[in-house]
């Protein structure tokens, strides 16, 4: 069983990097060292009236334990986190979930790293650690791009915007087609319609496709069964068709889940 750590992390820096999107670097003791791309942390509010942790994906890590999260303010909890600055502390638990399977990557394979909106952050660390030729395809609402320069350090980046104000007008699949891109494996994180389209695309092309899902969570460690997704096979935990996004996921092979 992978180690999980409860820590009081210290904020190194935080900055707004886009439309309600924040980038925070946290100094951790163990979480940063243990984390793999595609894993997440539970972040706890200081306000005791907010009982549930916010699951936030890990954007990148540094070998000495720093962890970067990039998140969108979606409510009062994330709003509270966005007000923190250098030297403030934050209760976190992690690393949680399985992460993207790096070890399956054979040399010489071409990959797609696909992120949509607030699903883009985990692609930063994945791009750093994945060997081979990486084509990073990212979809935004508009030209207010974020993390593009970070991604460009480790692969060729292709951008789509919903309103056509930058790169391909449309979604990440439009961008793949417009640039005549091809790959052997897909790694993706983003909104469900995007993941659904990628699952269909991967099936049509006959390629392996790893999808990182999002679901409302409570415990974050596999006990409460709030965050399930529908699985093809009977799951090991409950003997039904419900895999836990926080435990067996958040990353699943597209063919093992229904979307």
């Amino acid at each position: 069983m992978a180690e999980k750590y409860r820590e009081t992390a210290r904020v190194i820096t935080q900055e707004a990097i886009g439309n309600g999107i924040y980038s925070m670097w946290l100094q951790t003791t163990d979480i940063g060292k243990a984390a793999r791309p595609g894993q997440f942390i539970s972040v706890y509010s200081k306000d005791r009236s907010r009982m549930l942790p916010r699951p936030i994906s890990i954007c990148e890590t540094e070998p000495e334990g720093a962890v970067r999260i990039v998140y969108r303010v979606a409510g009062k909890g994330t709003e509270e986190f966005s007000r923190l600055g250098s030297g403030d502390t934050l209760e976190i638990l992690g690393p949680l979930g399985n992460g993207f399977p790096l070890e399956r990557m054979a040399e010489g394979k071409k990959t797609f790293l696909i992120g949509g909106g607030i699903g883009i952050p985990p692609m930063v660390e994945l791009a750093k650690r994945l060997p081979g030729e990486k084509q990073i395809v990212v979809g935004y609402r508009d030209a207010r791009l974020f993390l593009k320069e970070d991604l460009e350090k480790n692969g060729s980046v292709y951008v789509a915007t919903e309103n056509g104000s930058y790169g391909t007008a449309g979604n990440v699949l439009d961008c793949i087609r417009e640039n005549n891109l091809e790959a052997d494996v897909i790694y993706a994180c983003g909104p469900t319609p995007m993941l659904r389209a990628l699952k269909a695309y991967a099936q049509e092309k006959g390629i392996e496709c790893w999808l990182s899902l999002e679901e409302k969570m409570a415990c974050g460690i596999g006990a409460c069964l709030a965050c399930v997704c529908q699985s093809k096979e009977v799951d090991d935990h409950s003997r039904v068709h419900n895999k836990r996004v926080c435990k067996e996921g958040p990353v699943f092979l597209s063919t093992e889940i229904e979307l």
Binding site: M1, K4, R6, Y44, R48, S49, R50, M51, L52, P53, G77, L93, E215, K216, M217, A218, C219, G220, I221, G222, A223, C224, L225, A226, C227, V228, C229, H237, S238, R239, V240, H241, N242, K247
Partner: protein, 302 residues
Amino acid sequence: MSINMSVKIAGVELKNPVMTASGTFGSGMEYSEFVDLNRLGAVVTKGVANVPWAGNPTPRIAETCGGMMNAIGLQNPGIDTFVKRDLPFLQKYDTKVIVNVCGKSTEDYCEVVERLAEESVDLLEINISCPNVKEGGIAFGQNPRAVEAITAEIRKHAKQPVIMKLSPNVTDITETARAAEAGGADALSLINTLTGMKIDVHRRTFALANKTGGLSGPAIRPVAVRMVYQTAQAVKLPIIGMGGITCAEDALEFILAGASAVSVGTANFRNPETTLEVIDGIAEYMRKYQIKDIRELIGSVK
């Protein structure tokens, strides 16, 4: 000062009065990374039925001010897997095992209870907030006659003492408490969650796929303490109190109101070590006020 924190529930002695609330702690496996289960008075498992239940569609949870709502739908692996996998895990620990049982019909409950008769389980807790499919889906726990009938039927099949877990979604909790007592219950636990609803105004839809869900957490604590107090006045059975306990002071409210033991539920999500903090905090309180035996506190506020 040496203090005694052990309490007895239906003849079963717990080393302290603190246990986990069903559904918030699985079968202890996931939380054992954070909590030494040996320290707990008991582990109350997530509800188990006669067959696996898939539960409800997602979203299954939503946060509310001072609490949360859930409509998990009692997803569980069924009694076979539970007996093969979860019970052997719990038996490795020096804590009491309380198995929470759910069902869609009286027969479902009895089947589970019978399967557990020969297992090393200390107590059974019966979740009667499930809809009775044979009676048009009304929860067993909302009708005193149904509570008495199902309690009596389960009692006939059960080897271990039976704790009936009462629903707070009733006009008068003492009616269902008395009904459970009349049916032969050995103990009561209360409260289960309060039925609620949350609407996402931005998406203009229900926050939960199930539309309604069970409200839990500190927001419901005063309601729970009141119901424990009323029930303690109405019946002679030992009571396990729960509803929004996050610290020792919260737990002590229940104990002073008449609970012999307490369960920590939603707070586990915010802090996995809450149960341990509650145990330590109660001990500290007893030392501070020179209370030698926790039994002096139970129901002492009248």
